[in-house]
């Protein structure tokens, strides 16, 4: 086989492929022009700033759907938890809306019990909160008390939960994925706004006396925080204060006055 033959053997298939590609390329580019769908420039810009994880957690089909809804004002920025806060601010700038609550969360354990909280009985069994809960409603005298078997720590993908003194604690490794929030069988791990300065470290809706009997760090629903708060951000609901983080200025007066110290300050 001469050099020329080899050259032809190589160049023919390449040439053919190139020709086919060219023909279809031309057809497609023509079709692309004909069938062009105008995409809003804003929409593309917003899309590039979104996380582009296409997780669908916002309820729209992918990030492009969410970007479209954002531009049309149908969706809110905080529906997306994957986009970083600074990007959300940029998007808010583009759309001319208030970034407001960017949806960034902070995870807290709304129970100060642990060893302070009395046990109802000694639980001997598989160390699992959900299973302990099946056994006569859990071993803690308080039905909203952390049992400390660490189901949250087991699901945490970043080892951000330590069990100290029979109680879960979130450390700085937390990525705010909220797996623990979903896992906790008694729902005492809560996601609160990132910029929150205080949180209620108790989840018990029982009356003061009942709480006092079992736990020294529980909320006794005295209402001191409600009266103290200078900005009226706290209301008492079902024997537990609820903080309106939109109104909270972070002065910390409630935490200072709380007799059982069940309102904790965050840094």
């Amino acid at each position: 086989m001469s050099g020329m033959d080899i050259f032809i053997t190589i160049i023919t298939p390449l040439g053919i492929l190139f020709a086919i590609a060219l023909v279809f390329g031309v057809i497609l580019s023509y079709a692309g022009k004909k069938l062009e769908v105008k995409v809003d420039e804003k929409e593309e810009e917003v899309l590039s700033l979104l996380a582009n994880a296409n997780c669908g957690a916002c309820g729209y089909p992918g990030c492009s759907g969410f970007a479209k809804a954002l531009c049309e004002g149908k969706a809110e920025l905080n529906m997306c938890s994957a986009t970083p806060g600074e990007n959300k601010k940029k998007i808010a700038g583009i759309l001319g809306i208030d970034a407001g609550d960017t949806g960034e969360k902070r995870i807290v354990v709304a129970c100060g019990g642990g060893l302070i909280c009395k046990d109802k009985f000694e639980y001997i069994g598989y160390e699992d909160c959900a299973m302990a809960l099946q056994t006569a409603g859990g071993n803690k005298a308080c039905s909203n008390g952390c049992m400390g078997f660490g189901n949250c720590a087991k699901v945490c993908p970043s080892q951000a939960i330590d069990i100290k003194d029979n109680r879960a604690e979130i450390n700085s490794n937390c990525t705010k994925c909220q797996s623990c929030v979903k896992t906790c069988p008694i729902h005492i791990i809560k996601a609160i706004p990132e910029n929150a300065k205080v949180y209620i470290k108790c989840s018990s809706h029982k009356k003061g006396k009942e709480v006092m009997d079992v736990c020294k760090s529980g909320c006794i629903a005295c209402g001191m925080c409600v009266r103290t708060c200078p900005s009226g951000a706290i209301v008492m609901e079902d024997n537990l204060p609820v903080i309106n983080y939109d109104k909270c200025t972070g002065c910390g007066a409630c935490a200072d006055k709380c007799p059982t110290k069940c309102i904790a300050k965050l840094d």
Binding site: L17, F24, L28, A31
Partner: protein, 194 residues
């Protein structure tokens, strides 16, 4: 002659159903079969792509690749053609049915790599069909795919409302349903006297 076309018709839809008998194109079969509506959209897109790419690959294979004796580049050439058709379908859907476009999502461009489509074009060559047979084989194989995905979508829509054991919810029960469906289709095998 007519019997040959009839054999392609029955073969493409029932006997050699791409999904249920040959286990090709499973990805969109499981991915877009949650709702009958999107499943139908996906099926129609696949019919279009299969039929037209069968036609065009036949033309390219018979009148370009064979005379030049370079049939060995068939796979790459066929993929090129299929990809172009998928692009075309994508453009058309984006323009005329944005909701379907959104619902099909990533599975639409994935038709390119749907092995059922490449499979049908390569089988056309293998079976040495003529141009009409090749086109019909693509068309009916597409119809077969649509039938399979519609059946599964119908089953899945009902499964959502049924009381399924926790560990079977979602994909496991879907795979079981697909397997039972596929077993039912084995009843057609032998129909062509093959």
């Amino acid at each position: 002659m007519e019997t040959a076309y009839f054999a392609i018709f029955i073969g493409g839809i029932f006997v050699n159903n791409f999904v249920l008998s040959q286990s090709l194109g499973i990805c969109p079969f499981l991915g877009v079969s949650k709702k009958t509506e999107t499943a139908l959209g996906m099926g129609l897109a696949v019919i279009f792509v299969m039929a037209l790419s069968s036609l065009f690959t036949y033309i390219v294979y018979t009148w370009i690749l064979t005379p030049l004796n370079i049939q060995y580049i068939q796979t790459i050439a066929f993929i090129l053609i299929i990809a172009s058709f998928v692009q075309l379908v994508e453009m058309v859907l984006k323009k005329f049915s944005p909701s379907l476009y959104g619902a099909l999502g990533v599975y639409l461009p994935l038709i390119t790599t749907n092995c059922a489509v490449l499979g049908v074009t390569l089988l056309n060559v293998q079976e040495s069909y003529n141009i009409l047979e090749a086109f019909l084989n693509g068309l009916f194989s597409g119809v077969g795919f649509t039938l399979a995905i519609l059946l599964l979508a119908g089953i899945r829509e009902r499964l959502v409302k049924s009381d399924i054991p926790e560990s079977f919810k979602g994909f496991p029960i879907t795979l079981i349903a697909a397997a039972v469906l596929s077993m039912a289709f084995t009843a057609f095998s032998g129909m062509l006297g093959g």
